[in-house]
Every structure is written in structure tokens, then in C-alpha cells.
């Protein structure tokens, strides 16, 4: 199987090249035999990459240390689940995983469009095959997972202990699924630009793929934050590290696209902008990969650096120039079909929302790349870390949160003053009430207060929208409130699923703002000694050290400290934190010692204990933190994912037909028909 996999990788390279050439040639010459050959070539490439992946998994699971990749990322005593996930734990394997996901997506996209969008498909399959070809070439000539060692070591180096975590087992695949999904809309955009078929047809084909990308990026980023929080031990979940920033960039542009696509669908506007966003999302995904892997910017997360950065830079440059040329030469075909009628309209609100999202994406990219710019311009090394990003992005993020509440309140085309007054009254009252209550309760942290007030405002908007919808259904269909709620979402998944995503955003910001009240204490405790402290809510906590314990288990030597914990005199239980020294099957230490955090989670706050070290007198050096509202960050991410799934869920056939016919009508009449 391993040999078949190795051969399959090289044949896949040739097959992808064939597919790219025949697809583009078929599209250009309008020869159906070449077009079909190109599409079959993509299917064949997918099968070959599946075989190559199966080969690598076989090598990993059978501990074949003659392969450099297996020896570098696994060891004989590594638990089977992490041996399996090591497939994407290193440079070469993660590239193969990327190619596997991309070719699978490509096969699904081609199959789904076998009877649709036929004018576009030769160029879609050609673009997809070209991107697959790039990844296969990078692997075959830059980072080959099947590279062999000159000698067979008795054991491998093992996996980085920080990657041996359930969150890390599923966080990278989700991010890859999100990153890679940006390729399909990109391929459709390129095809639409080449063929100059820039109507709304190609958008309909890519909307669901953009949602897939957004969904997996959301899940992947949330899981990544959770992993950083429970595994890295610094008591935070977002450090504005270049790799974290790289995952945020395509998420921001895809979110912007999912909003602005509605304007193009309803009003035929923002056509240039939408093409730009689709292309940008893909290029930012590639840029993020380049940042992660090139070592150009140092990052705490860059587990797999190698010289393939120049491959990615080259690819990025070529893609940038080609897409730039295509967009520049098709500007006339991208003219809007309608004009904005008012600055105070839903369309304009979407535009402002897009400016905010893209502005944040720019500021994140700018901050990430500024150290390189500074070194080029001034020759001075500087660091751009969390204090900078928080200074710049917190106000921008709050502006975006405000727009989340404002957008749904404004009517399409033009909002009248009466309409605005009616729509804004309750949400504004809700936001002001939250602000006043918190102020009276003594909250003085400016940004946190603004964040909670805006959360109240956006919540007011969402509740009002649901209340109106439920009220309308109850009066029209005589349904109970519960059934009306369910039917409301089921009948218009896109709109109300979107509102559920907004609920997730609000919850997320509530969790983020909780960090303003975070308290850290570094303490040293001998066995039997107690540390007492009040948490941000005023409760008195006591932590009594139970002494240091040392033991060996599985593939590690563990030093642990447990704290008997009480709150206001009531016993909470033990919170323990560990230092782990991982060893290979011969007991030889591998990697630096890692931290295992002790966390007691509640809806109000996390109590977070990190064992920083053991002194010579056997006293434990600990950091104890009270982290308010952290759990709401994970809950917010989960709600966003659920909202995304509701939006993605396919509509019933009848409603899909109605939507198609509706799209054929001018907007005003569409509304009329829907109302009948």
C-alpha cells in the first residue's frame, strides 16, 4: 500500500497537469472531448491522492520509520489516535491533507455541476486542477511525505506534546476544510471572468461553497482558541499570533462576501466588489499558509517550517497578477444593474458592514506584516504583539458589532424617518438599559461597557426581528409561539439562520469583554499552605496545596500539584495542574516539558491554575487566574456554527424553484409575489 501510495502521488502530479491543460484547451477551443477529459482527469487525480493518503496513513500506523516524515512526527509509543492525526501534524503531511481535501471538494463541485454552468465548467476544472497541481508539485519537489532516510532509526522523534490534545486533533482539519473551500468560489470567479459571464449565475454556484468555507473556518478558529486556552497555559485564547491572524483574514473577507452577495442577488449591485472578495479570500488563505510555513514571520504556532515558503510566494504572485489582470480587463462587464437610492438603506448598511470587515482584515494583515516592513524601511526589528492589535482592533470590532445591530433595522432601497424611529426604538432602549444598569452596578471599564451596551442593542434588534416574524405567523397561520418560531426559521433559513449567527457574535463579544475583568496571581505554595483571594465577583476563594506528586504514565513523566479549593467556605474540589516531560519508547526525553492546565469552568468564570515550576524546597510556583465569562466564547462559537448550518441547509425543491423564478423578476415585484 505504501509503495502504491508513493507512486500514486507522482501519477497524480501528471494527471493534474493533464487535467489543467486539457480543461483550459477545451474551454478555449470549445472541444467537448477535451473538456470531458479534463473533468475526468480531476476525478482521477482525486482517486490517486486518496491512494497517496492511504499510503502515508499506512506508513504512520505501521511505524515505518524508514520514512523521514514518520520518524520526525511519531514514535512507537504515541497513542494511535495521535499517530493517525500526525498525518496533518507536519509540513509534508499537511500539504498532502490539503491536496486530499481540495481534490475531494473539486470532485464534488464538478459532479454537482455536471449538468449546470457548463460554459463555466472547463475553466472551473482547469483552475482547480492548476491549484491541485501546485500543491502536488510543492510536495513532490519541496516537501515529499514519502522521502526516505538513509538508515532506519529504532524509534521516531514523537509528536510535539502540545499537539497531543483532542482540540488539536480536530482544529487543523477544520481550518484546512475552511481554507481549501475558498478555492471553489475562486475557480468559479476565474471562470466567470475568463468567459465574461459575470451575471448572478456564478454567484449562485459559489454561495454555498463560501458558506462551507465560513462554517469550517468558524469551527476551526473556535477550536483553535479553545486549544490555546486549555493547552498552552497562558490563560488566554487569542494572542494575535501571525498564524492566528492568518486564519482570521479569509474568515473576515468571506463574512463580508456573504453579506454583500445579498446586495448583488437582490439589486444587481457590488459586482466588482464581490469578485474581489471571492478572489481575496482565496489569496488570503494562500498568504496565511505562506506565513505559517515560510518562517518569514516568527510565530509560536509554526510547527512545520521549511523552505517551501518561496513556492507559496511564487504561486501567490502569479495568482495575484492573473486575477488582477482579469478583473482589470473585465471592469465594463462588472457594471452594476441598479443604483443605490439612499445612504440610509439596507444596501448601504451592507456596504458599511463590508468596509468594517475588510478594514479589520486590513488592520490585522497590516499589523502582521509591519515588522517586515519596518525592517525593510528602517532596518530596525520591532515586535507587533497583543497590545498593538488590541489598541487598533478593539474599536474597529465594536464598530462592526454596532453595524450588526443597525443593518437588519434598515429597509431595502430607502428607509423613511418614521420607519427608522419605529425600528430603532426598542433596540436602542435595550442597549441604553444595559449600559445604565452596568454603570449603576459600578462597571467603569470603557470598552467593556460599550461592548455590553452594544450587545444589548444587537440583542434588542434580533429579538425584535424574531418577535415581528413570530407575530406575523401567529396572526396569519394561528400557530403557537413555539411552532411559529420553528416555522419562521424553517421557511427563511437564510435570514433567520443569519440572525442566529448574529446571536453567536453577541455572545462571543460578551465573552471577549469579560477579559477586561481578568485577575492573575502568581503564588508559591508548600504542601499545606493556603492562598486566599477575592474573585472579580467578590467571592472569597481559598487554594490549599496538597503537595507535589511525581509519576510515569504512557509516554510521559508527570509532575503534578493539586489544590484543595473552596469558595466562600464551600468546598469546590481539587484543581490540579501538571508539567509533563514526554519520552520515547526507550525513556529518552523528547521535546521541552509542557503544561497541563487545571481549569474549573462555570458560566460566570473559569478558575485557571498553571503549575509554572517546582522550587528546590518542593514548593509549587503557580499562576492562579480568574477568567470571567470565558465559557461564553466557546458557546458563542457554537451558536455561530449552528446558525451557519441553518443557513447552509438545502431549501425544499418548491421553494428553490420559487427563488429561481423570483430572481427573474425585478426586485419590487419579487417582494409583491412573496407577499401573496
Amino acid at each position: 500500500m505504501i509503495l502504491i501510495g508513493e507512486l500514486a502521488l507522482w501519477i497524480a502530479l501528471l494527471m493534474a497537469a493533464w487535467s489543467a491543460i486539457t480543461s483550459f484547451a477545451g474551454g478555449r477551443t470549445r472541444r467537448l472531448d477535451l473538456v470531458m477529459s479534463g473533468e475526468r482527469g480531476v476525478y482521477a487525480t482525486w482517486l490517486l491522492i486518496v491512494a497517496a493518503s492511504a499510503g502515508l496513513w499506512t506508513a504512520l500506523l505501521t511505524h515505518d520509520f524508514s520514512f523521514r516524515y514518520v520518524a520526525a512526527h511519531t514514535s512507537a509509543n504515541l497513542p494511535a489516535i495521535y499517530t493517525f492525526t500526525s498525518f496533518w501534524g507536519g509540513q509534508a503531511g499537511s500539504l498532502l491533507f490539503w491536496a486530499l481535501v481540495l481534490s475531494s471538494y473539486a470532485a464534488v463541485a464538478l459532479f454537482a455541476n455536471r449538468n449546470r454552468n457548463r460554459e463555466l465548467m472547463p475553466y472551473v476544472s482547469g483552475t482547480l486542477a492548476t491549484v491541485i497541481l501546485f500543491f502536488l508539485a510543492t510536495m513532490c519537489f519541496g516537501a515529499n511525505p514519502y522521502e526516505r532516510l538513509d538508515w532506519v532509526p529504532p524509534d521516531g522523534s514523537g509528536m510535539n506534546p502540545q499537539l497531543q490534545n483532542p482540540g488539536m486533533a480536530i482544529h487543523p482539519p477544520n481550518l484546512y476544510l475552511g481554507y481549501v473551500a475558498t478555492t471553489i468560489p475562486f475557480a468559479f470567479a476565474i471562470a466567470a471572468l475568463i468567459t465574461r459571464r459575470l451575471d448572478e449565475q456564478w454567484l449562485a454556484a459559489v454561495r454555498r461553497w463560501s458558506l462551507v468555507s465560513w462554517f469550517f473556518l468558524t469551527v476551526g478558529i473556535t477550536l483553535g482558541m479553545w486549544w490555546a486556552y486549555v493547552e498552552l497555559g497562558w490563560s488566554g485564547y487569542w494572542a494575535w499570533d501571525p498564524v492566528e491572524n492568518a486564519s482570521l483574514l479569509p474568515w473576515l473577507t468571506t463574512t463580508a462576501f456573504l453579506h454583500s452577495i445579498m446586495v448583488q442577488e437582490k439589486r444587481g449591485m457590488l459586482r466588482k466588489w464581490n469578485v474581489t472578495l471571492v478572489v481575496s479570500s482565496f489569496l488570503l488563505a494562500i498568504l496565511g499558509t505562506f506565513i505559517t510555513r515560510s518562517g518569514v514571520i516568527s510565530s509560536v504556532h509554526s510547527f512545520s517550517q521549511s523552505p517551501i515558503g518561496s513556492w507559496f510566494a511564487g504561486f501567490l504572485g502569479v495568482a495575484l497578477v492573473i486575477t488582477g489582470y482579469l478583473v482589470a480587463t473585465r471592469l465594463k462587464d462588472l457594471k452594476a444593474r441598479a443604483e443605490l437610492e439612499s445612504v440610509i438603506s439596507r444596501e448601504a448598511a451592507f456596504l458599511y458592514n463590508n468596509v468594517a470587515l475588510v478594514g479589520i482584515a486590513f488592520s490585522v494583515l497590516w499589523g502582521t506584516l509591519f515588522p517586515i516592513l519596518s525592517e525593510w524601511v528602517r532596518g530596525t526589528k520591532i515586535t507587533v504583539g497583543p497590545p498593538f492589535f488590541n489598541t487598533v482592533n478593539v474599536p474597529l470590532g465594536l464598530f462592526l458589532l454596532a453595524l450588526t445591530g443597525i443593518g437588519p433595522l434598515i429597509a431595502w432601497r430607502r428607509a423613511s424617518p418614521q420607519n427608522l424611529a419605529r425600528q430603532f426604538t426598542w433596540p436602542l432602549a435595550s442597549g441604553l438599559t444595559v449600559a445604565i444598569v452596568l454603570w449603576v452596578l459600578g462597571m467603569r471599564e470603557g470598552y467593556a461597557l460599550i461592548a455590553y451596551a452594544l450587545a444589548g442593542f444587537v440583542s434588542g434588534t434580533i429579538v425584535q426581528e424574531f418577535a415581528k416574524g413570530i407575530g406575523a405567523r401567529r396572526s396569519m397561520h394561528g400557530e403557537s409561539a413555539g411552532m411559529a418560531f420553528v416555522h419562521l426559521i424553517a421557511r427563511n433559513r437564510r435570514r433567520y439562520g443569519g440572525y442566529i449567527v448574529h446571536v453567536g457574535i453577541v455572545v462571543l463579544f460578551v465573552g471577549f469583554a469579560g477579559l477586561a475583568f481578568k485577575k492573575d496571581y502568581d503564588v508559591r505554595l508548600k504542601a499545606g499552605e493556603t492562598f486566599t483571594q477575592r474573585d472579580p465577583y467578590g467571592h472569597q476563594w481559598a487554594f490549599t496545596a496538597q503537595g507535589v506528586s511525581r509519576f510515569e504514565t504512557l509516554n510521559r513523566k508527570v509532575t503534578a500539584v493539586a489544590l484543595q479549593t473552596t469558595r466562600d467556605g464551600e468546598r469546590i474540589g481539587l484543581i490540579s495542574s501538571e508539567k509533563r516531560q514526554h519520552v520515547d519508547s526507550r525513556g529518552v526525553a523528547t521535546f521541552e516539558p509542557s503544561t497541563e492546565v487545571g481549569i474549573r469552568t462555570s458560566l460566570r468564570q473559569d478558575t485557571y491554575v498553571v503549575l509554572a515550576g517546582i522550587s528546590e524546597d518542593e514548593s509549587a510556583e503557580l499562576r492562579i487566574s480568574f477568567n470571567p465569562l470565558v465559557v461564553w466564547v466557546w458557546i458563542g462559537g457554537g451558536i455561530m456554527a449552528i446558525g451557519g448550518m441553518i443557513v447552509m441547509w438545502p431549501a425544499a425543491e418548491r421553494r428553490r424553484r420559487e427563488a429561481v423564478y423570483g430572481a427573474m423578476l425585478p426586485p419590487a415585484r419579487t417582494v409583491e409575489i412573496a407577499a401573496r
Binding site: S298, V300, A313, Y352, I614
Partner: protein, 194 residues
């Protein structure tokens, strides 16, 4: 391939080659500048300030911790001094930097004086946010400038579009359907739905 496409393709290839070369150079310089490697324990350099005559500590413990949040550990971990020293017990750099902060705070130095002393020894890279001066202002101003420019642009475009008709759009693209057309369309939807 027509001439214009050939020129575009050539320009793209050239740009990519230049970019790839620049990246290679950058990777090379990264490799050279990273000769100490990650977790370089020899990166510590003592930072001292003479104790003030009154010599009473002016910083509370929280304020001292905030100073350590603004300073980056120099071991290569990219964490702040506070986070690194309370997380990673194998690092010897952050505890040493922490001891320097304590010594200067105990000697009566203010937070700004401690930060300045670290900058003098390590340079600007010791700060986790670029100091707000000279070229670095660009880092702080540009994101807000871009956002403001975007908002102004959108508002201007919207206002202009309101007064100017869209060129090149056929007149019937904006036309409403007649009641008869609507009835036929609804009938078609019903038929398709059966």
C-alpha cells in the same frame, strides 16, 4: 495566445520570480538572524537603573505586572515576560527579566522609566507594541485611515449614484412585470411545484 495575454503572463511570471527571490532572501536573513534559535537562553542581558534617593517602590504589584505584559520575553517564545515566566518553567530569560523589573521598581523607577531602560538595552523589539513615534505612527494610523477612507468613499459613491443614472443598462432591465406576466409566472410556479 494573443500578444496582450502573453505580456500579462510574462509580467506575472516575472513578478512571481521577483517575489519568490525576495522571500528566499528574507528566509535567509531570518535564518541568519535566528542563529540563537528558539528558546535561546543566552538572550538575556542585564538591565539596570540606579536606585533613586527616596528608593521607595512607586509601583504596585499589579502595575509591575502590567509592565511585564508590555515587554516581550527574548527567549524566542513571542510571549510577554509575565506570561512566559508564569507558564514556562524551562525558560531562564523571563525570570531574569522579571528580576530586573523588580529591582528597578524597588529602586523607585516608574513604569515608563523601566520600559525605557529595557529599550536602551534590547532595542524596540523588546516592546510588544511599537513605540508611538516616527515611522511607527504609520502602523497605528493607517488602519483607521483606511477604514475612514472606505466609509467616505462609500458615502460619496452612494450620493453620486443617487444623482446620476447608470450608463449602459438597457431600459427594460429596470422595467416591472405586468400583472398578466405575474399571473403567468405564478401559474408556472404552481405547475412546477405539483
Amino acid at each position: 495566445m494573443i500578444r496582450r495575454e502573453f505580456v500579462a503572463a510574462f509580467a506575472g511570471g516575472s513578478a512571481a520570480a521577483v517575489l519568490a527571490g525576495a522571500v528566499d532572501a528574507q528566509q535567509g536573513s531570518q535564518a541568519r538572524s535566528n542563529v540563537m534559535g528558539p528558546m535561546e537562553q543566552g538572550a538575556y542581558r542585564p538591565v539596570r537603573l540606579p536606585a533613586k534617593s527616596s528608593s521607595a517602590p512607586t509601583l504596585t504589584r499589579d502595575e509591575r505586572d502590567q509592565v511585564e505584559y508590555r515587554l516581550g520575553c527574548q527567549c524566542g517564545c513571542s510571549l510577554s515576560v509575565y506570561i512566559c515566566r508564569t507558564t514556562d518553567f524551562s525558560c531562564q530569560v523571563s525570570p531574569a527579566m522579571h528580576r530586573d523589573v523588580i529591582a528597578m521598581a524597588d529602586g523607585g523607577a516608574s513604569a515608563d522609566e523601566i520600559i525605557a531602560a529595557f529599550r536602551n538595552v534590547y532595542g524596540d523589539k523588546v516592546l510588544l507594541a511599537p513605540p508611538r513615534q516616527g515611522f511607527n505612527w504609520l502602523a497605528y494610523i493607517l488602519p483607521f485611515a483606511v477604514m475612514a477612507a472606505g466609509l467616505v468613499l462609500v458615502t460619496t459613491v452612494v450620493r453620486r449614484l443617487r444623482t446620476a443614472p447608470v450608463a449602459g443598462i438597457p431600459p427594460d432591465a429596470q422595467a416591472d412585470a405586468t400583472p398578466d406576466e405575474l399571473a403567468r409566472l405564478q401559474s408556472a410556479i404552481r405547475d412546477e411545484s405539483r
